[in-house]
């Protein structure tokens, strides 16, 4: 029976807070939100978003890619973050001989794939079926950005893409962990990427769940989410393979379905409760062992009430310090589980809790209160990370600090 321990040995992230772990960490530490009015494309909607302050051309240069080829922004953001994580872990420097001895896979995730460029195609195509540049469709399939990352990192022993809306990246981390535990892979690049697109901005607008101001997760006056873009990846590996550093261990994971409504969460947070209790069961620890919760906390009235109820069901009166970083980055959709898992692991490393920004009024109906000031110097053992999505998809990961 194989049951490998799975540790995290590399991190990579790009979000509205900046490019790379250091810039993101700096913004988290200094309580600087990246949410601002939209500039990346023309839209009639007056919305605040979390944009990555890098143009596509700039990213193509940073990555030394062939500039004559077309890349979706989703693929470029993913490449930047995945390359950083792979470099951080040191696997990028392995020689061919040592590299061949390892089974390395990429499990990524995205919600709309290369929609940012498909939109350009479709705008012309819908008026004239002979128009629209076919090369704009190159990144349309959700799997396309993952393939580009796997080729770039020369890591293709297993390559796949999860798409479970806003819980996607957490499910990718979960599959990678299970594959390593069971000996199917030695190392995996896991996480997700999503770029801003008219499709998602209009989609969430049509649902009436975009806040015109900066979002306020778990606040009584919360009025919706801000869409963000970004990518976040972890390098996970068997603990018995040499590694330069360790950010922690993937101790628990579970996925459950709320089975309540296609887009809304149940008021008692059934899916969230089952995901959290399932992850606790896998990790073999009890609720009292959880040091902090990195919440999904989108800022929509429905999500935060539902997640808050689920936290009360799991932890009773002793809800650990919890917060959502969506007030910094916006909701990076499929990438959220990746970006925020990086943040959760940085919490473990630095003993900090990233507070909710813009918090004013405690919720009336659900008696929970997020962390609103930066907590530091804490002795954190386990962080529980929630990610929920459309279709009732709920996933919880538990990261533990090892060899402190």
């Amino acid at each position: 029976m194989i049951d490998n321990n799975v540790i995290i040995s590399g991190l990579g992230v790009v979000s509205a807070l900046g490019v790379g772990v250091n810039e993101n960490l700096n913004s988290l530490m200094t309580l600087k939100s990246g949410i601002a009015p939209i500039t990346i494309f023309q839209t009639n909607h007056d919305v605040m978003v979390g944009e990555v302050k890098l143009g596509n051309t700039e990213m193509i240069e940073m990555l030394s890619l062939d500039s004559s080829k077309r890349y979706s922004r989703t693929a470029l953001l993913g490449l930047i973050a995945a390359r950083e994580a792979f470099t951080d872990s040191g696997f990028i420097f392995l020689n061919q001989h040592d590299r061949m001895k390892l089974k390395i896979g990429v499990i990524s995730s995205t919600s709309v794939g290369g929609m940012d460029v498909s939109e350009n195609f479709y705008r012309e195509y819908r008026l004239d079926k002979s128009k629209g540049r076919l090369r704009d469709l190159i990144g349309h399939d959700c799997g396309s950005s993952t393939k580009i990352i796997a080729d770039y990192l020369k890591a293709d022993d297993f390559v796949s893409t999860v798409s479970t809306a806003c819980s996607s990246a957490s499910n990718a981390i979960m599959l990678g962990t299970r594959m390593i535990k069971n000996g199917l892979l030695d190392v995996a690049v896991v996480g997700g990427t999503d770029a801003l697109s008219r499709f998602t901005v209009n989609g969430f607008y049509s649902l009436g769940i975009l806040d015109k101001e900066q979002c306020r997760p778990f606040d009584e006056t919360r009025a919706g989410l801000n869409i963000g873009e970004g990518a976040g990846y972890l390098i996970i590996q068997r603990s018995d393979i040499p590694h330069e550093k360790t950010y922690g261990e993937v101790c628990g994971y579970a996925n459950a379905n709320d089975a309540y409504h296609q887009t809304a969460s149940s008021s008692d947070g059934t899916g969230a409760y089952l995901a959290m209790s399932g992850a606790l069961e896998v990790s073999g620890i009890s609720p009292g062992d959880i040091s902090i919760v990195h919440a999904h906390g989108t800022g929509t009235p429905n999500n935060d009430a539902s997640e808050g109820s689920a936290l009360l069901r799991i932890f009773g009166k002793n809800v650990p310090p919890f917060s959502s970083t969506k007030s910094y980055t916006g909701h990076t959709l499929a990438a959220a589980g990746g970006v925020e898992s990086v943040f959760a692991l940085l919490s473990l490393k630095y003993g900090c809790v990233w507070p909710n920004l813009n918090f004013g009024v405690r919720m009336k109906d659900v008696d929970v209160m997020p962390v609103v000031k930066l907590l530091s110097g804490m002795d954190l053992k386990y962080v529980l990370k929630n990610s929920f999505g459309f279709g009732g998809n709920c996933t919880t990961l538990i990261f533990g600090y090892c060899n402190r």
């Binding site: 049951d3 919600s111 479709y122 002979s130 069971n182 009732g392």
Partner: protein, 300 residues
């Protein structure tokens, strides 16, 4: 990890060319009207597979789709441009996410179990199978609903035509669902032995060598084996094998999850043909990863 064996208890297929009467499976007329064709195809296929298995409940819903919900995606994109970002109807957006079908199955069954969707082109269904097989090895007494589906919208067919795809293959679509489990049943249709995918750099006009593929994943052929193949490339193989090979994409057409059709088709071949012990399904959608699924007769 336990050494559980993995069985296919039942399977169902819904194809564009023989769609059932959906109201038998999705009785609520309002729900039915809201659903796009691929949602109805997927949900119905899942319901038939579950009914045929005789199981009352399942422990996981794992789906794979290469193209996702194309019609709703296009409908929402159109509405953005048509009305200049005004008067948007959220239902097309809601139903455009590739996990819609998995979610609709969970809603219909009222089940809170594990639920994941994979969207990775030509190996989307294989990804779902990989996850399912892992889960069936991790835990005892598990039953999973696993499916692969894709719809051919008129726009997709037209765009792929412009790309020249229909010069080498013909369009197809379908939704195929399976109930997999790890307890032996003599009613099982087949046992799944392995699922492998690997990268292939060859161009579309180069031949792919069957023996090379089988050698690579350490499968040897004998007269009790059959090979179901579906590749956009031409497959080369020793002349004496030709009676053991079936080009399955001639039956179902080209789409990313056509290998799910092949698994459905292959699962029924053991009883139909009598003396077949093993079936090897070799697939490649356009220029993507090659996949090999090996299944065997449960009596062997």
């Amino acid at each position: 990890m336990m050494n559980n064996r993995i069985y296919i208890y039942s399977c169902a297929t819904v194809e564009g060319k023989n769609e059932p009467d959906y109201k038998d499976y999705i009785p609520d007329p309002l729900a039915r009207r809201r659903m796009s064709r691929i949602i109805k195809m997927g949900l119905t296929s899942a319901m038939i597979a579950l009914k045929d298995s005789g199981l009352k409940s399942i422990d996981g819903i794992i789906t794979g789709t290469g193209w996702g919900c194309l019609a709703d995606t296009e409908r929402f994109l159109n509405s953005i441009y048509e009305n200049d970002e005004r008067l948007l109807n959220p239902s097309a957006f809601i139903q455009s996410t590739p996990n819609t079908i998995g979610a609709q199955i969970a809603l219909s069954l009222g089940t809170n179990c594990y639920n994941v969707s994979y969207v990775h082109g030509g190996i989307s269904f294989e990804s779902a199978l990989t996850d399912a097989m892992l889960m069936l090895k991790e835990r005892k007494d598990m039953n999973l609903l696993v499916g692969g589906f894709d719809e051919m919208s008129s726009t997709k067919e037209h765009i792929l035509g412009r790309m020249g795809v229909w010069r080498v293959t013909t369009p197809g679509e379908g939704a195929h669902f399976f109930i997999l489990g790890n307890s032996f049943s003599d009613k099982a249709l087949a046992e799944i032995e392995s699922v492998t995918t690997f990268n292939e750099n060859g161009a579309l006009n180069s031949d792919i060598d069957l023996m090379n593929i089988l050698e690579r994943i350490e499968i040897s052929l004998d007269s009790s084996c059959r090979v179901l193949y579906g590749l956009t490339n031409r497959l080369s193989f020793p002349e004496q094998l030709k009676d053991y090979l079936i080009d399955y994409k001639k039956l179902c057409g080209e789409y990313p999850t056509a290998s799910a059709f092949a698994l459905w088709y292959g699962s029924h071949l053991f009883k139909k043909m009598g003396n077949v012990e093993k079936i090897i399904i070799v697939s490649r959608h356009l220029r993507e990863r090659i996949s090999v699924i090996a299944i065997k007769n449960i009596s062997s």
